[in-house]
Symmetry: C2
Subunit: 109 residues, 2 copies
């Protein structure tokens, strides 16, 4: 019935899926890539750069923020979003472990 049955899966399976969901939209990939290229990220830039409406960008930023990937603070009048380094490396390790632990030779065809 359209509801993800998250309760039947392990915590780590749900967490990895949750993180993957954030990367599962090109706008969020683009936003992360753009932020990483800037010294200071002003959100209004994103609207111009990405090409989506301001509320949509705000929504995407919120998704990224929800899994702890962004730190934000004010500097002058502009909100400055930054990538949370600790969290980023944590996720990098999770994905790397997932990719590395999969045995790719279940049956040789």
């Amino acid at each position: 019935m359209g509801v993800s049955k998250t309760h039947i899966f392990s915590i780590s399976q749900n967490e990895l899926a949750q993180a993957a969901k954030v990367f599962a939209h090109p706008a969020r990939i683009a936003i992360l890539e753009y932020i990483s290229r800037q010294e200071n990220c002003i959100c209004n830039d994103l609207v111009d750069v990405i090409g989506l409406a301001q509320p949509t960008i705000s929504q995407h930023l919120n998704e990224i923020k929800k899994i702890g990937l962004l730190k934000g603070t004010f500097e002058g009048k502009n909100l400055c979003y930054c990538i949370n380094q600790e969290r980023w490396e944590e996720l990098q390790q999770s994905f790397n472990a997932f990719f590395s632990n999969i045995n790719q030779n279940c049956c040789q065809i």
Copy 2:
């Protein structure tokens, strides 16, 4: 209007997002983990192991298959799904590059 504006993003951004989408459900994580543990994967096992209905499992397998992550063949009467090693490593590299290329120090707070 609910349509992903994929055309305004780069091919690599869309491809990474597309791959992430496959990992964005705990059932598919669980399926991949289970397949990797088996010598031979019989789909009916998955229904018991994962705890979702057979059509749902079939649907999830199809999502995984669509990005080329599965090779399947028949052995006796049972379909044997295997992880496509080349594709797996390709995706591993894509994710690794994405994680590594992000500069995490856009502004120090």
